[in-house]
Symmetry: C2
Subunit: 253 residues, 2 copies
């Protein structure tokens, strides 16, 4: 039974893709089998692994159109299974406009997934049909939160959407993790906001905070995860620690 | 005749809102009358000026619904006229789904604008109906580009969208400015990407680059522009220089 986790936050640039990619790679380092789904029409996760999204024949769009099944769209990269995205995913909202149960398509596709301990879904910065599919397919949600002023502002809208999906479409859905991202200890702002997040979310806030680290921004340019690109960097250290926390949670109490 | 400028980039977190806000404030410092339109359902521009978006009676949503005209929705803050956003803007795509000419609604509303030298429109991180309205209403586009690897990846899709809008909906539309944002001179990555951007966009690339500066991230927490919050900071310096470049361009050659 796979743990299906959506990386979700409608705010742009908070680190969803960086987390999806490097948590997956960290879990793989710990011997776990991981499936990554790139659900963003900007395909940054796909490009960050050096996969040329615009040249692919089979992508996550085929899951939505029903032209290919999950196994056909998978690519294997750096020990990870990846369903790559397509720039044409951007038109999906219009294409599925009249389709009944259009939020369930990804969930149905993922039921074909076999042998993965973890399935991580990278969401775009919006609460549209793609994120709704992720929230309907997932059992858990991790929310990367950048430690800056406006981070908490968007949370109530996000939580409202999650509650509605839980009530109407997916009873198993839970926010199980908050990830502090792009943390810079020298910034008083960051420290203060981390404390507020801790008070509000308690144990859901992972102890590991992902620090701002240039290697995390550089690695995509080489099509590599942080563990290949800069295995001794703070970025690698933090994501390995975070993967460790995630695996530790899974063990029965 | 107002210069109508859309701040546009579907990539999240690149600095659209920070630029819209502080360019407007910089232009106001130089004596120009500026109108700001917050077109993002996350209302960050609105919150960054200390305006409580969730409590307002009249917002940009009223322009789309036709319940209020431009003059009724304006608020005056720090010498700027602002049309605030609403969290309910998120549902607009669905609400306008069948409406003919749904990309022209903002353009029609802005034709009521009077006496502004500049109208700046802050776009959300997507290429949906809100951004389409901005691109149909505007004559100019400024693209904030974060100096990181994936910045240029999204550009072709953005330019493709702009070309389509120009061809079908708005013949006057031009990309007139690229703004390098969140620049950190110590990062070789940043320098390399700035050079690539310069080669590709020539004169459209503003000479002023907005440096990474903590004050720019802190100011929204106090509901202030950078010029009120930290007038001596690099952030204030850069945005005043950028405003100067923008005003200099307007003078007849
Ligand atoms: N901890 C970090 N240290 C340094 N750079 C980071 C870190 N996390 C993310 N970045 C950089 O910040 C930018 C935004 O990150 P990322 O793309 O992961 O965010 P996102 O939430 O997926 O964005 P979007 O909303 O557009 O999908 C990227 O250029 C990324 O490389
Ligand atoms: N030059 C800068 N120095 C420091 N922080 C910055 C700078 N520019 C932007 N930021 C911070 O980065 C975050 C993202 O910036 P901003 O909200 O302006 O981007 P955006 O493109 O409007 O995002 P979205 O796509 O979500 O609308 C904010 O927390 C902002 O305060
Ligand atoms: Mg992303
Ligand atoms: Mg913004």
């Amino acid at each position: 039974m796979s743990e299906i986790i959506a990386l979700c936050n409608q705010k742009g640039g908070v680190g969803k893709t960086t987390c999806a990619l490097n948590i997956a790679a960290g879990l793989e380092r710990m011997g776990e089998k991981v499936l990554l789904i790139d659900l963003d029409p900007q395909a940054h996760l796909t490009y960050s692994l050096g996969i040329p999204a615009h040249e692919l024949q089979r992508t996550v769009l085929d899951l939505f159109k029903g032209t290919h099944g999950l196994t056909d769209t998978l690519l294997a990269v750096e020990g990870l299974a990846v369903v790559p995205s397509s720039l044409d995913l951007a038109g999906l909202d219009m294409e599925l406009a009249g389709t009944p149960g259009r939020e369930f398509i990804l969930r149905e596709s993922l039921s074909q997934a076999d042998g993965f301990a973890y399935i991580l879904i990278d969401c775009p910065p919006s609460l549209g049909i793609l994120t709704l599919n992720a929230l309907t397919a997932a059992r858990e949600i991790y929310i990367p939160l950048q430690t800056e002023f406006l981070a908490l502002k968007g949370m109530s809208k996000l939580i409202e959407t999650i509650d509605t999906v839980k009530r109407r479409l997916n009873r198993d859905l839970e926010i199980t993790g908050i990830i502090g991202t792009r943390y810079d200890a020298r910034r008083k702002l960051n420290k203060g906001i981390m404390e507020t997040i801790g008070e509000r979310f308690g144990d859901k806030l992972f102890k590991t905070i992902i620090r701002e680290n240039i290697s995390l921004a550089e690695a995509p340019g080489y099509g590599q995860t942080i563990f290949r690109y800069a295995p001794k960097s703070h970025g690698a250290e933090d994501f390995l620690a975070l993967a460790g926390e995630i695996v530790a949670r899974k063990r029965p109490a």
